[in-house]
Symmetry: C2
Subunit: 407 residues, 2 copies
């Protein structure tokens, strides 16, 4: 008998019919003797509908109240799934984030989980109940409802699995696993049976939308066995995300090509080339809770330098406003921004022991005439920022250059 | 400076535009120096949409989970109204029923308020905030979300007004006050400036949908000054619901004609005419939380009697099933039921001192050939059950017979 946490995304619970299918799948696991905790997202489209409503009543909705509105999406799903489970003869009980007491900080719309009281859930499981928990939400010390940000339901699932010391956390989605790249762009893309946490982290953070990055971090940190599966297929093992590197000699150097369209590039021109300038520029940006991705500082000349970084497109205007505010203080000549950027990356733990990955990547892009605007590297990935219009082309040629279509 | 509790129903908050209008109205009251607590219902149509969803996933949705789903309707509205208030420069904070801690019993979908912790709301008011509370919902001792049943938002408003010792509880609705009867049936129906709690109680319980009956009971019990107003008119004093009877000599004997289409009649035939039979019949019905309205027991003959009562039509099938279960035990000959019943009543505190109301009512109906099936009287009302098809006719002729079109 195992304790399994299953997380179903918005598409998997997108209609009453699909919710009933999820109930049947959960029943199958329970019939096998497993204890099951189910984490669900809002029905697909619901969160967007709610956000649209808020924009109709307020130009810039208050984050606390935004969370009050948006968190209802998951609350509807937990009630519906619980009654669907009861309807087929199971015992089930729903919990909102506040009811579990998933304690978070007070950073509304982007809250982080501080603690989970898993005792009531454990009691329900021991009584033979299926426990259904609202993903994406929690409660702060003041009792205000918080949300974890988009994709936060994955994080809820993994955090619960960690708190309950679950045997496995299964993330059900509309794809049947993690692919070498997006099959919509490269039809030859191949499903991976396993991928390491590190690689998954790079793939997720780079825009492979299968799992939310924080959930992968969490899973790695707390050694939660994580599996990505399709909620629309009866069979299939999905992709297991492993702590250990595959020791197979035949393991390919590169596991996949990741990409992210949601990149905006900002360049601060002509700042004084002196210690502390990076902090002066990025400190106010971080204070506004804006995630900065790639950061490049050019070698200076004439005592000044140029400083570039990327943020999500949704954060661009806010970031530019912040920098305009500190421009005089830091002595910058100008702020430039570009919304039409995109990032493409090759990812693989194998590159640690295989030199030449970077040069092959750069040569491949050069042969297609694709200009590289920024480069950033880590032990297991190389990322470049390019003009968005070349994104699909870049992904296709890199997938082929690294032989990913064949295992 | 007064403390005002304002309750806005589903139609009044039925669209983002209307929510913004409510925000403006609240702002006007605050600008006059008043402290304002706003209680809101779900946006019109939302509760029905949610209930429809539950019926698609489960044949007979679990009441606890039904409350989890349905309570999201009001939660969306409090968030939207709070951000709309902030958008026009006010400070505002939303509370779900659980966040206020509106403690109720655990009778899901029909819960009763046990206690309200008003201290946090009072603190917010003193800080100059508008407090926005979700109507219709509370939380039980176990932390489960409960709902008060349809129309429960009125009850929330009045209960909050009582707990806060508010100066007035204003119920905003889509009508501009309480009328002598439904103007859709009698165009000459007249708005009343005042009505007593007792009369309002009879009018509400008899199907004048302006206010939910429990809210009127509450208001009477805790001496909350209650006013019914239109949320669609800028001016107008609405109808004030008073503790005191109007001492005006010219006061009409009858205040209004109330009616209720939602009546189903059940007759238990040939039960032994002995003590305790009423309890044996109605005990199991009450245990199932079914409200029984009119009750008639005929004079017995041959040692048996017939026992009739009315319930809401939605409860009819359940009631018949319950009675079929106890039929043998109580020794009844048969159970008959009739869905096409309707109740019409004349209401007025004036009838206490004016005899002849009953005879005028019965004569008026007889002149139109309308058969009376059941009669029930109280100090301030006379109700009759008639065939539903005569309902409009009965209301029209009674309104005229009691001279209600002229003040």
């Amino acid at each position: 008998m195992a304790l399994i946490v299953q997380k179903y995304g918005g598409t998997s619970v997108g209609s009453p019919e699909r919710i009933k299918n999820v109930a049947k799948r959960v029943a199958k696991f329970q019939a096998q003797g497993h204890q099951v905790v189910v984490v669900v997202s809002a029905m697909s489209g619901e969160t967007n509908r709610l956000i649209a409503l808020t924009k109709e009543v307020a130009a810039s909705p208050d984050p606390r109240e935004l969370d009050v509105v948006v968190s209802t999406g998951e609350q509807v799903t937990i009630g519906l799934l619980s009654m669907a489970l009861q309807d087929i003869g199971l015992r089930a009980k729903s919990y909102t984030g506040a009811q579990v007491r998933i304690l978070t900080d007070s950073a509304h719309t982007k809250a982080r989980i501080l603690n989970i009281d898993e005792a009531p859930i454990r009691r329900d499981l021991q009584e033979g109940k299926v426990v259904v928990v609202a993903g994406f939400q929690g409660v702060d010390e003041k009792g205000s409802i918080t949300t974890l940000g988009r994709g936060g339901s994955d994080t809820t699932g993994v955090a619960l699995a960690a708190a309950l010391k679950a045997d496995e956390c299964q993330i059900y989605t509309d794809v049947d696993g993690v692919y070498t790249t997006d099959p919509r762009i490269v039809p030859e893309a191949r499903k991976l049976d396993t991928i390491t946490f590190e690689e998954m982290l790079e793939m997720a953070s780079l825009g492979s939308k299968v799992l939310q990055i924080r959930s992968v971090e969490f899973a790695g940190k707390y050694k939660v066995k994580l599996r990505v599966l399709s909620s629309f297929q009866e069979e299939g093992e999905g992709t297991l995300i492993t702590v250990e590197e595959d020791t197979n000699m035949e393991q390919p150097v590169i596991s996949g090509i990741a990409f992210n369209r949601d990149e905006a590039k900002i360049t601060v021109l002509g700042v004084p080339d002196k210690p502390g300038i990076a902090y002066q520029i990025l400190g106010p940006v971080a204070d506004a809770n804006i995630d900065v991705d790639m950061i490049i500082q050019n070698v200076g000349h004439d005592g000044t330098t140029d400083f570039s970084f990327t943020v999500s497109r949704g954060d661009l205007d806010k970031t530019v406003r912040i920098l305009d505010g500190v421009k005089a203080h830091i002595g910058a000549r100008a702020i430039e921004s570009d919304k039409a950027a995109a990032k493409v990356s090759v990812v693989g733990v194998g590159m640690r022991s295989h030199p030449g990955v970077a040069s092959r990547m750069f040569r491949t892009l050069a042969e297609e005439g694709i200009n590289i605007q920024m480069i950033s590297t880590s032990e297991i990935k190389i990322s470049v920022v390019i003009d968005e219009k070349y994104l699909e082309l870049a992904v296709r040629v890199l997938h082929k250059a690294f032989g990913l279509e064949t295992a």
